[in-house]
């Protein structure tokens, strides 16, 4: 493959500058589709969306439509949503239950395990020529059900998902695990889908831990929309991390998170004050979690991005969001909202209402993010604008490997101040994908910044 994106003086991530072409160039975008979205692990959906045999959910990987389906034997598959004959989508429903995917074009049908079931007039027209076994729906070579979340990669040589996550796993877990510390146990209560005219990486980068963009959210912080706002508490969420040490962490494979470590013996910060019953529920979860996880319970999530395009909000609100690329300057956001499956209905209702006023295109907080991403993209497309790189020097050369924070060892490259080192690391890895590097390189195994991590663990 031709390299169309070369490191020039415009891109020097050690210096902390990145060519704007990364966000607006058609050539780089085509290369991303070919080198990033064909190899990296991508989030596809959640098992709670397909609880029964025959249940399916239409999803996406990069620009392309895929079907997440539970077959008649209850095995989960991810298929390319395209008939093997002439490519027509075999499923144009958002979700449902079926025993067959029927192509409307020439009526080829496929069973829920992807195998060809019927080809019209097969005996007269194809017998002895077409081998049905070879014309199943295209299935992803790599798929995993990780704590109920389904991820897939088109690269059969991709490392297994947990290796891919590396030390970021601990942080993703905080979003996926029950509020009382039991592993997994989440369910999806709805998916927002919307398009916005921005490069997909603005959104991904935002969740890597760009806490520096806080001024964008001044309006919601001023008026108060959080789970305690009806009691006059300002801010867009409860500030449970008020007394915690915040940590901004970059990981070898390009993931980045913003989490926090509570001090030892820290007092519980009251939350969810809008409703005493909800307040009591979460206080109980907090105590259970402390019991269950011990000292590790002091680590709490805020946001993160799993390379390349899956971001999470870990607590308030709680969701995974996938930034599907449409073009260099257009993105489709799919946000999957999470609650504990066994939480009381009243708790789920409370959270749902908070999520709706916070997140996505109707959310009072994220509307202001999208305004930034749109006009940052738009104002970077110009010939003159593209002569000037973006600045990524925030807190450069200040991160430390595997430090102790509040007495807890935090794995990865960590800063306790706002920083852009996660973004610098993300784009180093992104460039390696564009350069068609091998998996050692993509996982950052050759990156000296993570050398001690490499020694200390299988990473």
């Amino acid at each position: 493959m031709n390299k169309v994106f070369d490191a020039t003086s415009m891109t020097d991530l050690d210096e902390g500058v990145l060519d704007r072409g990364a966000f607006v160039s058609e050539e780089i975008y085509r290369q991303e589709l070919q080198t990033v979205f064909t190899r990296a692990w991508l989030f596809v959906g959640h098992e709670s969306q397909i609880p029964n045999p025959g249940d399916f959910f239409s999803s996406r990987m990069g620009e392309e439509s895929v079907i997440l389906v539970r077959d008649k034997a209850s095995v989960i598959h991810v298929f390319l949503n395209s008939c093997r004959h002439r490519g027509m989508k075999v499923c144009r429903y958002d979700q449902g239950n079926t025993s067959l995917f029927t192509c409307p074009y020439h009526a080829w049908t496929y069973a829920t395990d992807g195998k060809v079931r019927g080809i019209p007039q097969y005996k007269e027209l194809y017998d002895g020529v077409l081998d049905r076994e070879k014309w199943s729906l295209i299935e992803v070579p790599k798929m995993v059900n990780y704590k109920g979340t389904i991820w897939a990669s088109w690269d059969e040589n991709a490392p297994d998902f947990e290796t891919y996550l590396g030390e970021a796993k601990l942080h993703l877990d905080q979003a996926l695990d029950c509020r009382d510390g039991r592993p997994g146990g989440s369910e999806v209560i709805g998916v927002h889908k919307w398009v916005f005219p921005s490069n997909w990486k603005f959104a991904a980068e935002n969740f890597l831990g760009d806490s520096y963009h806080n001024p964008s959210h001044r309006s919601v912080d001023l008026i108060g929309i959080g789970p305690s706002a009806r009691q006059g508490i300002k801010g867009r969420r409860d500030n449970e991390l008020e007394m915690a040490k915040h940590v901004w962490i970059g990981f070898a494979a390009g993931h980045g998170v913003h989490s926090a470590v509570q001090a030892m013996g820290a007092e519980y910060v009251s939350q969810f004050a809008n409703d005493p019953e909800i307040e009591a529920y979460f206080r109980h979860c907090h105590e259970e979690r402390n019991q269950r996880l011990g000292d590790d319970a002091r680590l709490l999530p805020f946001t993160g991005t799993i390379f390349p395009n899956t971001s999470y909000h870990g607590r308030q609100p709680r969701n995974l969001c996938v930034w599907h690329p449409h073009s260099p300057t257009e993105t489709e956001g799919w946000r999957f909202f999470f609650v504990d499956a066994d939480a009381p209905t009243k708790v789920k209702d409370f959270l749902r209402r908070f999520y709706m006023r916070y997140s996505g295109p109707a959310g009072m907080t994220e509307q202001d993010d999208m305004e930034n991403w749109l006009y940052a993209t738009k104002a970077s497309t110009g010939t003159i604008a593209r002569r000037y790189a973006f600045n990524y020097q925030l807190a450069r050369d200040q991160a430390h490997l595997d430090p102790e924070v509040n007495g807890l060892t935090v794995r990865g490259r960590v800063n306790t101040k706002m920083t852009e080192h996660m973004a610098r690391g993300y784009y180093r890895r992104w460039k390696a994908y564009l350069d068609c590097a091998d998996w050692d390189e993509l996982l950052g195994r050759n990156d000296p910044r993570f050398a001690a991590t490499k020694k200390g663990s299988p990473q």
Partner: protein, 188 residues
């Protein structure tokens, strides 16, 4: 309370047309308040117990539309599932002057049409509760080149107390699946 769409059975006599005219005037006044950014006045038209709901709409197999096409009120995620407090918050946010998705303010026009009264209680002449249906076209233009069209149906329950009419329940059916807009900052 969730009003299902159906062909109105109300008798279209003089009392009906008088009531419909009153409803139309109410909707036009409301649209003017929004388009002229008189948000506080608009909030006064919203009943203290308002349910303001916009479902997400899914592509479902034929025969499943009634049950599965729209997300449900108070069940799972939707676009809006608001009460008076959140509507007040949305107005309050715009009035901070630093809600960047509405700063500078968008230019918005609400076109309300196909207005019908579907039922009135106790009757059209003395109605204190009026169920209505209409179509909306909301045009939003923002900054320079950004523009969005929101088209769909609205099912409102209006309550009248003396001379005062208010919206008690609003179900907004937007004709989109993937939302073709970066934000829903406009009121519907």
């Amino acid at each position: 309370m969730d009003i299902k769409e159906h062909t109105p059975t109300i008798i279209r006599d003089d009392a009906y047309f008088r009531l419909r005219q009153e409803v139309e005037e109410f909707f036009y006044d409301e649209a003017a308040m929004l388009d002229e950014r008189r948000f506080d006045e608009w909030l006064d038209l919203m009943h203290d117990d308002i349910v303001y709901f916009m479902p997400m709409r899914r592509n479902v197999k034929f025969g499943m539309h009634q049950d599965r096409e729209d997300t449900l009120l108070e069940e799972g995620m939707s676009w809006f599932n608001e009460d008076k407090w959140t509507l007040e918050k949305r107005v309050e946010q715009i009035m901070t002057g630093v809600h960047y998705a509405e700063e500078p303010l968008s230019r918005v026009s609400h076109l309300v049409t196909n207005v019908q009264v579907t039922s009135a209680f106790p009757d059209a002449a003395n109605a204190t509760e009026i169920n209505t249906s209409c179509r909306f076209y909301i045009y939003q233009n923002r900054v320079e080149h950004e523009h969005y069209s929101f088209v769909g149906r609205r099912y409102d329950t209006l309550v009248r107390d003396g001379g005062r009419m208010q919206v008690r329940h609003r179900r907004i059916i937007l004709d989109q699946n993937v939302l073709l807009a970066k934000c829903l900052t406009a009121f519907f």
